[in-house]
């Protein structure tokens, strides 16, 4: 295999590896050096660490606990629209966080549906700001993920076992004890840890719903040290803490052996017996109905409230949309180039080197965007104006964040193309660009479209490192939208949110669809 990769590919792969290592490990070194002369941690910093752990733990527990009945219902019932619902469970992954937050405000906020209903009945309205608001938003994002992971566990139980259980006359309770509980025991820790890891790097949710010092995550505290006080020492120290938290959680995820993520095979329903009682039927319908209501109402509110003013959005929103498209498309291109270069390099190396390249490709899962942002700022600041580089830096960090997913989509397809057609290409002397153009790319259209769509959509909706660097004049669409929200111009914010939603989903759809169509021809 090693012979097949040409010098250009080797250089490209090496450059990609160096860039990724510099962005993840290099920025960490910069942060660590700066953190040496930081002031000591104060009570507020400890409070931020406590809050980060607490909200991530609660978010993981609630997401997983609520996902169990939903996954069970989806596993054993077939109904019209089930396939669509399972597909929709994957959508929150590319849903811009700040859009979801606005949707949740429209349902659970002080002027939201639930508060208005309560007030009609003479009760006090509910408040969303604080710990419960942050956890609510995290459950919104992670309930679908948990459901998919647990559903996979359910569907992995062979149908024969359920048949055997039925022939032995086991009650649903016995089935739960003998078949379902052991499966859950194997699946739940991994699912909970993944959600815990995702929630530890929460920034936009805490920014919008934290409600003050009581609801500050470490990631948010980094931003505050930076933008509120321009205290780089504290920002660096907090970044190190954030890295320690993420790395520990990521190692734990590795260790418990995560159930495979976005695999197929969720389409079928295991045939089941002894579950046709009206009680169980109602229970399952309730679980699915409530979950769908919880997940779809906030999005429906965005659409309903966003449409009326969509035609006359302020000029600042329009120009922010242009900037966001530029960032999203750059991030998509960069993600693909990095992922392909690393995947090619991994194919051309052996032993520990292959492992190192693969580890590098997924390393950014364990590094938070604001830690990288802080490190980049520290590195760039002495030489150039980081603020003027806000948009390129955002595209770069966004690309890095999408890299693990793009790599996982592309690497197996690349390996397969090389295995199947590589020898023929070798014998024809196809190398370099010709090989890429005629052999590799046509066979990678589907994963390429998916990976580019994912990267573009994630970047389009990202509100993280841009908040650290940009000034209002350079705002991206999510940042502009947050600005409208923060000044309580909710109608305009809803329209901007709808625009953002359409752009994110649209980018994903166009790329993903494009990949499929090209692959089919």
């Amino acid at each position: 295999m090693a012979g097949r990769i040409g010098p250009v590919a080797r250089v490209a792969g090496g450059a990609a590896a160096v860039l990724v290592a510099a962005l993840t490990l290099g920025t960490l070194v910069a942060v660590a050096m700066r953190a040496e002369d930081a002031p000591q941690l104060g009570p507020a910093d400890f409070a931020a660490i406590r809050f980060t752990m607490l909200q991530a733990t609660l978010s993981a527990l609630f997401s997983v606990a609520l996902a169990i009945p939903v996954a069970r219902a989806l596993a054993r019932r077939s109904f019209p629209g089930r396939g669509l619902l399972v597909t929709l469970l994957g959508a929150p992954f590319i849903l811009p966080v700040i859009v979801a937050v606005l949707g949740l405000l429209a349902v659970f906020g002080r002027n939201g549906l639930i508060s208005q209903g309560l007030m009609l009945l003479g009760f006090e309205p509910v408040h969303i700001y604080g710990l419960h608001g942050v956890v609510l938003a995290h459950v919104f994002f992670n309930l679908p993920l948990a459901t998919r992971l647990i559903l996979q566990g359910w569907l992995a139980i062979p149908a024969e076992r359920f048949r055997l259980a039925a022939s032995l006359g086991l009650s649903p309770r016995d089935v739960a004890r003998t078949l379902e509980w052991p499966m859950l025991r194997a699946v739940l820790p991994g699912a909970a840890l993944v959600i815990f890891l995702i929630c530890t790097t929460s920034f936009a949710v805490a920014l919008a719903l934290g409600g003050g010092p009581r609801g500050t995550t470490v990631e948010l505290a980094i931003y505050q040290a930076f933008r509120f006080e321009f205290d780089l020492g504290s920002a660096a120290l907090l970044s190190l803490i954030q890295f320690a938290i993420c790395a520990t959680a990521a190692l734990a995820v590795w260790w418990v052996d995560l159930p495979a993520g976005f695999g197929g095979g969720l389409g079928r329903v295991t045939e089941r017996w002894a579950i046709s009682g009206p009680g169980l039927r109602a229970l399952d319908a309730l679980a699915i109905g409530l979950a769908a209501l919880f997940l779809l109402t906030p999005l429906a509110m965005i659409v309903a409230e966003g449409i009326p003013r969509l035609a006359d959005l302020p000029a600042s929103v329009i120009s922010a949309t242009g900037r966001s498209f530029a960032v999203a498309l750059s991030a998509a291109v960069l993600t693909i180039v990095l992922a392909l270069s690393l995947a090619t390099l991994a194919l051309g190396t052996r032993g520990w080197k292959t492992g190192a390249v693969e580890a590098l490709a997924v390393l950014s899962i364990a590094v938070s965007p604001l830690v990288i942002g802080t490190g980049l700022f520290l590195v760039i600041y002495p030489f150039a104006d980081p603020i003027s580089l806000a948009l390129p830096i955002t595209a770069l960090v966004n690309a890095l964040m999408s890299l693990p997913f793009a790599y996982r989509a592309l690497a197996p397809a690349l390996a397969e193309a090389e295995t199947v057609h590589g020898r023929l290409a070798d014998s024809l002397g196809m190398r370099g660009w010709a090989r890429l153009k005629h052999l590799i790319l046509p066979r990678l259209m589907r994963p390429l479209g998916f990976a580019a769509g994912l990267a573009a959509a994630l970047s389009m909706g990202d509100l993280g490192v841009i908040a650290l660097f940009a000034n209002p004049e350079q705002a991206t669409l999510p940042m502009e939208m947050y600005g409208l929200m923060a000044s309580f111009r909710m109608e305009q914010a809803s329209s901007a949110a709808l625009l953002l939603l359409v752009c994110s989903m649209g980018l994903f759809w166009v790329f993903d669809r494009g990949g499929r169509v090209r692959a089919a021809t």
């Binding site: 509120f228 006080e229 000029a315 000044s487």
Partner: protein, 343 residues
């Protein structure tokens, strides 16, 4: 500062057309004003809104300066200093407008500001002014504003903390009113201020980044009181003919705010910047302030204060730390604030 009032109030009619037009004009502006020097003034968001002082001041200054005055909004007052530090000498801004005396010592220490060289005599401030770097343009007293329908209005900071009145305050790290309350509590309670903040924790509904967010939430009925100014009710009275908003008089006295502007040393338009600071104390500028920024003018214009300002409460005791002391007290006070509210 209190033009932020108008911003929140007018949020229902966002005036899209003017904004759109302004956006288009901004795009076209570089072409039209190519041969004119540009003066960039960094200020808080509410200053540059259509209903804030920005548009009138821009028009008045451009009528005489032969320049293009660009007022750029960059968050609330305290965030301006963080941005100035972050940009350092690379900043494209020439003037920063919207700091107050709690921040001037820290700002002076950065070495980013240049002396203004203006003779500060004839000012109508409640304090003497001799800062060589910063020029005051308006002032006011911080106060908690409430609807007159509120019963049992607290008469002091201490009573407020003991009551179950809900309040919205601003983050002292980003907002000058938020920082003002921090200093107010220090001035009144000294070593006991952390205990006061702990007692306040259950009264504080939320902490916002800036003044306008807080005032917007208050007008939406989210809380009983909001941290603002004794002059805030004048907006409701004069602009909306609405006498139902009042500022609560507190027996411990009210903390004073003097808002200032300063010239950046790295400015490429130092003369224009000087002209602007000079212009700030002219009648043209000062007569715009009371009914757009809703603060007391630093130099009362010839026509005097607008009608309606005479109805405002006037604190018997004005509290204010001198700039250096405020700077020294700030870090410690902030740590106490964070510790008390982070629980």
């Amino acid at each position: 500062m209190t033009s932020r009032l108008t911003r929140s109030v007018a949020k229902e009619d966002i005036m899209r057309l003017p904004v759109m037009t302004a956006g288009l004009l901004a795009l076209a502006a570089p072409a039209m004003a190519q041969d004119q020097p540009v003066l960039r003034v960094l200020t808080y968001d509410s200053f540059v809104t259509d209903w804030g002082p920005g548009p009138q001041i821009e028009e008045a200054f451009e009528a005489t300066c032969g320049c293009d005055l660009q007022l750029v909004g960059a968050g609330d007052g305290a965030a301006l200093l963080a941005r100035a530090k972050l940009e350092g000498e690379r900043s494209e801004a020439d003037v920063i407008l919207g700091l107050d005396t709690n921040l001037t010592a820290d700002a002076a220490e950065t070495g980013l500001f240049a002396p203004h060289g203006i003779d500060p005599s004839g000012l109508d401030l409640p304090i003497a002014w001799d800062d060589p770097l910063f020029v005051p343009y308006d002032w006011g007293y911080f106060a908690f504003v409430h609807d007159t329908a509120l019963e049992d209005v607290p008469g002091s900071l201490a009573e407020l903390a003991e009551s179950d009145v809900s309040v919205i305050i601003q983050d002292p790290r980003t907002s000058t009113p938020g920082l003002g309350l921090l200093m107010w509590a220090e001035a009144v309670f000294g070593a006991e201020s952390e205990a006061w903040w702990q007692a306040m924790a259950d009264n504080i509904l939320t902490v916002t980044k800036g003044w306008s967010e807080a005032y917007g939430l208050f007008l939406d009925g989210e809380a009983d009181m909001v941290l603002s100014y004794t002059t805030s009710p004048a907006y409701h009275l004069i602009s909306e003919d609405d006498p139902t908003k009042a500022a609560a008089a507190f027996s411990e006295g009210h903390y004073l705010q003097v808002e200032v502007a300063g010239k950046l040393a790295a400015s490429d338009q130092p003369e224009l910047a000087d002209d602007f600071l000079e212009f700030m104390l002219s009648d043209a500028f000062q007569s715009i302030i009371p009914t757009t920024n809703w603060m007391y003018p630093a130099k009362v214009p010839e026509e005097g204060l607008p009608e309606g300002f005479d109805t405002l409460i006037e604190p018997e005791d004005a509290l204010l730390y001198p700039a250096e002391e405020a700077d020294e007290a700030r870090e410690d006070a902030l740590a106490k604030w964070l510790a008390a509210l982070a629980r």
